[in-house]
């Protein structure tokens, strides 16, 4: 897989991951969180937003256990997860350190940082409190 290059807009997120710190965009005008990062806050159009640290806690909104490799060489099976963070935003990730038969929608999860296939450090999630 080709090495990943972040854009100026998204670099703080991936730099944060490398430092094992989850960061999320929060609007300075309306005070709301959003994800993924975009030029403007999706709630109020404001371009005045900043990256703030997140404790990286939330719950498993839903998931799919994937057995068919999405791209050649991708290890299977793995858990493709939709995580709902306590800040109220949701993101794609992977659920790790969890037996497949212990997966339960709604379970508490917390972020764990792992090396990705393209040089990125990825925010994945494990069962948490």
């Amino acid at each position: 897989m080709n090495a990943f290059t972040a854009s100026d807009m998204t670099r703080p997120f991936w730099d944060g991951c490398r430092e094992h710190q989850l960061r999320l965009p929060r609007c300075n005008d309306c005070g709301r969180w959003f994800f993924a990062p975009e030029i403007a806050c999706i709630h109020c159009f404001s371009q005045n937003w900043q990256w703030l640290d997140s404790p990286g806690r939330g719950s498993l909104y839903s998931y799919s256990v994937v057995h068919r490799a999405p791209v050649p060489g991708h290890a299977v099976p793995f858990v493709f997860a939709v995580i709902e963070l306590d800040e109220g935003v949701s993101l794609f990730s992977n659920l790790v350190q969890c037996d497949f038969d212990a997966i339960a929608i709604g379970m508490r999860v917390e972020v764990v940082f792992e090396d990705g296939p393209d040089g990125r450090t990825l925010p994945r999630f494990k069962p948490g409190r």
């Binding site: 854009s7 839903s62 999405p70």
Partner: protein, 386 residues
């Protein structure tokens, strides 16, 4: 005639559909479909003044639909450009709007593909250059899987119910000589559940095919349609919804639960009919679950009851909601974006009443849907026999 400019489907064509069409090229397949649909309609290419046709090339300008102009009435009066506007209910509705507004009079819509979807085995919807999705192993099946999994969690929808939908639709394809998987069944619920998991909760036989082939339709005004050879099929109404750009952000069930309801309301209001009046359903069936969700979307059953509703024989030829009688994307064919047009074509053929053993008797109205919850957008159209 109530509205002489009412958009009317007057021609259609489907090429050979197969897992592989050795030696064929996309562009040449598309030309076959375009000429086939025009011949079916009895329309001279030089009277076509609108195009919503994939331009595969080589030649012309890559992706630019105006490249078709020299083959038709030159200059063209109207084109549609985005690849999703060149197929299915969305393409049909945008072309219909253009015709009814008088931007053009006769449109060919079509597309298709030859050659492997991905040389290296990359799954559909994976490696889409989506920064916050691809790297976690995203694919179309996995994203739809998360919606289905949440529906199962909230309402107790079962694997057996979803498998019953897949078995029924695949059995429609099993007896359709035109389907890519003609004769491959019959399938039982147990057969579906015995196939390997692709992305839970979906087994392989609950996921759509990947095929090669092309198709096209011709639309014109109701007034011109009267002088043409085919039974006219009118575009009675339609609607679309776009929740967010597709596949970049999670499709949360709590957002997707209502996806398509406004579009359906708009479509049925314009058509002056209700969901219970529909004789033939051509629902988006990229995965088994989405058929279940769409019955809930249409209000034919309550939210959460779609599994039981769809699994008890209602969607068969003799049932109260005959659905995807050609075999759908699960068994008839999936040919890239033009898959969506196959839904329109089966609807039109049912209303022409030339579907042979799979014909719904006295079919007057059909509903065609494209995309759905995992994709975070949907388009639907209601067609009526003229």
């Amino acid at each position: 005639m109530k509205n002489p400019r009412q958009a009317t489907v007057v021609g259609l064509y489907v090429s050979q559909l197969a897992r592989s069409l050795p030696g064929r090229r996309s562009h040449e397949l598309i030309i076959e479909a375009v000429l086939g649909a025009l011949a079916d309609a009895g329309v001279d290419p030089k009277t076509v003044d609108g195009a919503a046709i994939e331009w595969a090339g080589p030649g012309g300008v890559p992706g630019e639909v105006g490249s078709w102009a020299p083959y038709f009435r030159q200059p063209l009066a109207w084109t549609s450009e985005h690849f999703m506007d060149l197929a299915g209910a969305r393409g049909l509705l945008k072309a219909a709007a253009a015709i009814e507004m008088g931007l053009c009079d006769t449109v060919v819509l079509g597309g298709g593909r030859a050659g492997p979807w991905a040389e290296d085995g990359t799954a559909v919807g994976a490696a889409m250059n989506l920064e916050f999705a691809d790297v976690f192993g995203s694919s179309t099946m996995a994203q739809f899987g998360t919606v289905a999994q949440r529906h199962m969690f909230e309402f107790g929808t079962t694997a057996e119910q979803m498998a019953a939908v897949a078995a029924t639709i695949r059995n429609h394809g099993h007896v359709n000589p035109e389907a890519a998987l003609y004769g491959a069944g019959p399938y039982t619920v147990a057969d579906i559940l015995a196939s390997p998991i692709i992305a839970s909760p979906f087994h392989r036989l609950e996921c759509c095919l990947i095929q090669e082939g092309a198709c096209a339709i011709v639309l014109t005004t109701a007034e011109r349609a009267r002088d043409l050879r085919q039974q006219p099929v009118h575009v009675l109404g339609g609607g679309m919804e776009f929740f967010r750009g597709a596949y970049a952000n999670p499709p949360l069930y709590r957002d997707m639960r209502h996806l398509g309801k406004d579009a359906a309301r708009r479509a049925f209001a314009r058509a002056g009919v209700g969901a219970r009046d529909i004789d033939v359903f051509n629902l988006y069936d990229a995965v088994s679950f989405e058929v279940i969700r769409q019955f809930e979307m249409l209000g034919l059953c309550a939210e959460g009851e779609g599994g039981a509703f769809a699994a008890d024989g209602r969607i068969t030829l003799g049932g109260e909601c005959p659905t995807n009688l050609d075999g759908g994307l699960l068994s008839h064919a999936w040919i890239g974006t033009a898959q969506l047009t196959l839904k329109v074509i089966e609807g039109v053929r049912q209303l022409r009443r030339d579907c042979g053993p799979r014909q719904v008797e006295n079919a007057e109205l059909t509903l065609v849907t494209n995309a759905g919850s995992g994709a975070q957008h949907i388009e639907l159209a209601i067609l009526g026999r003229g």
